[in-house]
Amino acid sequence: MMDQQTHALRGEGIALSFGGIKVLKGLDVEFRAGEITGLIGPNGAGKTSLFNCLTGAYSPQEGTISYAGEPLNGLPPAARAAKGIVRSFQHVALCPDLTVRENVMMGIARNGTAGWFSAFLPLTKGIREREEMARAADAALADLGLPDVGDKFPGELPPGMQRLVEIARAVVGKPSVLMLDEPAAGLNNSETRDLTAVLRKLASTDLVMVVVEHDMDLVMSICDRIYVLNFGEFVAVGSPGEVRTNDDVVRIYLGSDDDE
């Protein structure tokens, strides 16, 4: 439990506005290690904005973001990646010119030390490094149940597998924080089931997992804790069971149903 507290991704008083419109109104949020935390809310609630603040794509006007007590404010995404904070993308962002294995290798390419000479000449250092990365990538793919697709190109895979490849790329570097932006978008039911299984398997004691998602079934089935956002504020926080029965949440999601 102590461990969960210290290795948490925390946001305190996060406020973000675009041209005078307040998108996030001073949010306090804590994503604990070993838990899958869901971030839900209707369209325009500010989920993606909060997500982007956490990844470093946006910098909030107010508030602090920290991981394990270390402040992250002002760090660009690339620097956050170096600290083990990685993400997936709502629209599959795999490079079509690279094989699946190479795409996954990109998750750890930043750790490479082979220089420009190795890039152009067949030097042992570069070759060995590539072999190591390829091995790590294959292992990550196998972990996610994709052992045989390494030599294929992303375009040759169905969307569900592409999504898993993206997750493989995110986890191959053994991150401390994994942020998933609508992982189930564009997936059919059986693909979503596979994804659920993979995410459950990934949830280990030292990984902070954040899922922004529309698919209620997925969120309810995998998340330990859920933050519900509306108009830039949290309406509810709690376990799936608590959130499901929260009156405000029901009103937001079911709209004016009970008036009729």
Binding site: P77, A93, D97, T99, N103, M106, A119, F120
Partner: protein, 333 residues
């Protein structure tokens, strides 16, 4: 630039999966290139001196075409100003040769360094430019080249140009040297570019081209990608110029006009932005041979280049559709 105005479809004109697949494992491309090189090795014994000379120029221009294609493939950007880099390389060789009698062993590394350095220097102020904005900037670069050459005439020999005559290997036939040095340069550059595809830097560049945000999230910064690819492309451009100077024996402003810059781009389009040895040879041959074959009727050269450019672009556009339609027809039949 609030939004990059360019979609990257231009760089996907030929989704040549097989070429990539070949690069990343099996041996076919190596074999193709090997056979091609073996054949080219014997060409001087089959052809006359003038054709050997022309073929040497083809190799040199192929390197230039490769520099342009590399920028498209790995940077997603189009340059209409690569004569800046070829001129840099050519004058490195020309000046060191005519002023100091120093041969390629020193001037080629110098050309490479200058090309990379100026590529980086150009990339820094233009690091946030994309698509047509960068293209127009490179166009300005190309325009500035001839006047720079003419104004530094103390060094460059002005309109007259420089004559490169110092042999690389003393004693050997100069005609053969001009041919084999160009061939060797081309093979080395093609090999290095094929290696780049497998390196972490090359892969990062490709990811940054298609999904800059994803690359950013995994530690590849956009600015790094842009500056690196301009440096590489500039360096290879300079190697093209160095080879042109040695194999073509003369360096003069006429070889580095604005039109020559466009022709390099045409060569790149004609080879479908290919990076393999056979592909860049097609582009290089196009850039070299068309002016030679049409030299008696100069006005047809731009027309022919224009038509070839359009033809290849339209082919790149309609070919996949035609192929798809054919496939559908054969399925129903």
């Amino acid at each position: 630039m609030s939004e990059a105005p360019v979609s990257d479809q231009a760089t996907h004109m030929s989704p040549d999966r097989s070429a990539m697949a070949r690069l990343s494992g099996s041996i076919t491309p190596g074999v193709t290139a090997g056979i091609l090189v073996a054949v080219l090795m014997f060409m001087p014994y089959l052809l006359g001196g003038s054709w050997t000379f022309t073929l040497g120029l083809c190799f040199a221009n192929s390197i230039g075409v490769l520099a342009v294609s590399l920028l498209v493939r790995y940077g997603g950007e189009v340059s209409i100003g690569h004569t800046f880099f070829t001129a840099l390389g050519a004058y490195s060789v020309g000046v060191l040769d005519t002023r100091y009698g120093i041969s390629l062993w020193a001037s080629v590394p110098l050309a490479l360094c200058l090309g990379v350095t100026l590529g980086l220097l150009f990339a820094w102020p233009s690091r946030n430019l994309h698509g047509i904005y960068l293209a127009v900037t490179t166009l300005a670069l190309a325009l500035a080249v001839p006047e720079m050459i003419n104004n530094f005439d103390a060094l460059t020999g002005g309109y007259e140009g420089l004559y490169v005559a110092t042999p690389f290997i003393p004693g050997a036939s100069m005609g053969l040297q001009r041919y084999y040095v160009a061939l060797a340069m081309l093979v080395i550059v093609c090999f290095a570019v094929a290696r780049l595809r497998l390196s972490r830097q090359g892969m990062a560049l490709l990811l940054a081209k298609t999904h800059p945000a994803a690359a950013d999230a995994f530690g590849t910064r956009r600015v790094w990608a842009r500056i690196s690819i301009m440096g590489i492309s500039g360096g290879i451009g300079a190697l093209c110029g160095a080879t042109l100077a040695f194999s073509g024996s003369t360096v003069s402003p006429g070889g580095f006009t604005f039109w020559q810059a466009i022709f390099l781009l045409v060569g790149s389009v004609v080879s479908f932005y290919g990076l393999s040895l056979p592909r860049v040879l097609i582009g290089g041959a196009f850039v070299t041979l068309v002016p030679q074959l049409l030299s008696s009727s100069g006005a047809w050269i731009p027309v022919f280049y224009g038509l070839a450019l359009l033809g290849m672009i339209l082919l790149g556009h309609y070919m996949p559709r035609i192929r798809k339609a054919m496939a559908r027809k054969s399925e129903t039949a």
